[in-house]
């Protein structure tokens, strides 16, 4: 393996450090992300491409390094998001459950403190999230939801760019010691 791959891939899962957050932040940050998504695009329409609840899900799942934890985080945030949508509860819940599970699973293998990795993961999970949402809406709800691949890729890139500084800010909220 090269030096770079050594830096990204961890040799042992135990070398990865589990980050912990205060319970207040674990509640407040997802709620704030959902509130942002609900409120801000009303006045700044160009910010509607930001999928902050997804980025928060990815971040907390990556930091937990625990697939069960990631699954529960994803399910919680997804269901909250569903509750504020017009569709039946469960679509975002299932999608974000899978996102949380996979991101937590990946965090065991790779170094998620690397900004490049975070950016790539954010991009990948955004695309995965949008694609899976489209599949579930068409398959389970028979809604004529259109999937725009190019637009999704572009928005994925923008979310990935936002994810890097956002994750750095959230890193400051970690419990020390």
């Amino acid at each position: 393996m090269t030096e770079l791959s050594d830096q990204i891939l961890m040799t042992s899962p135990r070398t990865g450090k589990i980050s912990r957050f205060r319970i207040v932040w674990q509640i407040f940050i997802p709620l704030a992300a959902i509130a942002f998504q609900v409120n801000v695009p009303l006045f700044f329409r160009y910010l509607s491409y930001l999928e902050l609840p997804l980025l928060v899900t990815v971040y907390f799942s990556l930091m937990r390094r625990n697939p069960i934890g990631g699954t529960l985080i994803g399910a919680s945030i997804g269901l909250l998001q569903d509750a504020l949508s017009q569709q039946p509860l469960g679509i975002f819940g299932m999608v974000k459950t899978l996102v949380g599970y996979f991101s937590a699973s990946m965090s065991i293998k790779i170094d998620v403190d690397n900004s490049m990795v975070r950016c790539a993961l954010a991009f990948f999970f955004f695309f995965f999230h949008q694609f899976l949402t489209w599949v579930l809406q068409r398959a389970l709800l028979a809604q004529p939801y259109e999937f725009k691949a190019t637009q999704t890729l572009l928005f994925g890139l923008l979310n990935a760019i936002v994810a890097v500084p956002l994750f750095l800010i959230l890193d400051k909220l970690k419990e020390r010691g």
């Binding site: 069960i68 699954t71 909250l80």
Partner: protein, 368 residues
């Protein structure tokens, strides 16, 4: 084992949500509890975000992005100009509404049957003084009918179309109408000149027409009913063959917008005395240095009807004669003192030149 546990949890969570979704789709029921809890939890945050956004934007706009003030100022100026134009438009609309109301009032009062029309365009031709109105044959308009306004005559219908008609204005050189003066009852023919004033032609130089005198339609032309104002004489002077009398057309005083087409005209009397359509005219008394001239003089009937200098002089002399016991027009040979002021005398005085009675000669003269 740990790996299976993770998968099991995932499958359970996904399965539970699938069941929840299926339940909602199947029963068309909603999980309102979760929704209400979520909304309750998110609302304060959203409100906080909103106020934060408002404060941040307010701070930015007020203190940081001051360059926007210049842009805002320009925008407000443009808006003000726009509002001024709009205000002018509304004022015009208000004037139009007043004019239409006056027209409707006149239409109710006049005995002639009329139809209101709006001028919609002017006829082509540089010297042409003709307009199009929005009433035509379908409204009962016929060629030759008179067109008037509450102020006076305006023209006559020369062409009729189904939905419109052409009106020859009073100022067109081809226009003619019979008129008669108000005060001296002098008949004449009103003609257009192609400009703002019109001419009253065929008035003999010998007859008396005063400037300011009003002319009314005479009804002789069988187009305009008798008694409609035509105009006021601005110039009335002797001409080579006939008098040169120029009128200001009464019907054009308020511009050309709404008119009345007379479908069935009714003759009416020419009003006496007062000028038509212009309201009462107040004439100040002549300026005089003495206060006496301004003192109203009572006539014999006790009414303050003396308005001219001649009337006042006549009344003064009459009182002078009465105070001195002189009766005018008799062969008494006595002349009153015309220099006395009748208002300052309270008792009768002797006349200045009274015939002397025969005096007896004095005793001394008789002795001489």
């Amino acid at each position: 084992m740990n790996r299976y546990r993770n998968m099991a949890v995932l499958v359970i969570v996904i399965g539970a949500q699938l069941v929840l979704l299926a339940y909602q789709v199947r029963t068309k029921d909603d999980v309102s509890l979760l929704r209400s809890v979520t909304v309750t939890a998110v609302t304060p945050l959203a409100r906080g975000l909103d106020s934060m956004r408002g404060s941040s934007l307010g701070f930015l706009n007020r203190y940081v992005l001051l360059y926007n003030a210049q842009h805002e100022n320009e925008r407000l100026k443009q808006e003000l100009d726009k509002m001024k134009l709009e205000n002018q438009f509304l004022r015009t609309e208000l004037t139009t509404a007043d004019r239409v109301r006056a027209l409707a009032l006149f239409q109710q009062q006049t005995r002639s049957r009329t139809v209101a029309a709006r001028i919609i365009g002017t006829a082509t031709g540089t010297n042409s003084k003709a307009v199009f109105v929005d009433r035509g044959a379908t409204d009962g308009v016929q060629r030759g009918q008179a067109v008037i306004t509450p102020d006076g005559i305006l023209g006559k219908v020369t062409f009729v179309y189904p939905q419109a008609a052409q009106v020859l204005l009073i100022t067109d050189p081809a226009f003619a109408a019979g008129v008669i003066s108000q005060k001296n009852r002098v008949p004449g023919t009103l003609k257009g000149l192609g400009r703002s004033q019109v001419l009253v032609d065929y008035v003999q130089n010998e007859v008396k027409v005063e400037e300011g005198e009003w002319f009314f339609t005479s009804g002789d032309d069988r187009v305009f009913a008798k008694g409609i104002p035509a105009g006021q004489a601005r110039v009335a002077k002797q001409g080579t063959t006939f008098k040169e009398i120029f009128l200001d057309p009464a019907g054009l005083q308020r511009g050309l917008e709404e008119v009345l087409i007379v479908l069935e005209g009714v003759h009416q009397a020419i009003p006496e005395g007062s000028a038509p359509a212009s309201g009462p005219v107040v004439i100040m008394p002549p300026a005089s240095e003495s206060s006496e001239a301004n003192t109203p003089v009572q006539s014999e009937s006790g009414l303050p009807a003396l308005s001219t200098d001649a009337d006042r002089l006549r009344e003064k002399l009459k009182r002078v004669g009465e105070l001195q016991g002189v009766k005018y027009g008799t062969a008494s040979g006595r002349l009153p003192n015309f220099n006395m002021e009748p208002n300052q005398v309270t008792r009768p005085v002797a006349p200045l030149l009274a015939p002397e009675p025969a005096k007896p000669e004095p005793e001394a003269q008789r002795k001489q």
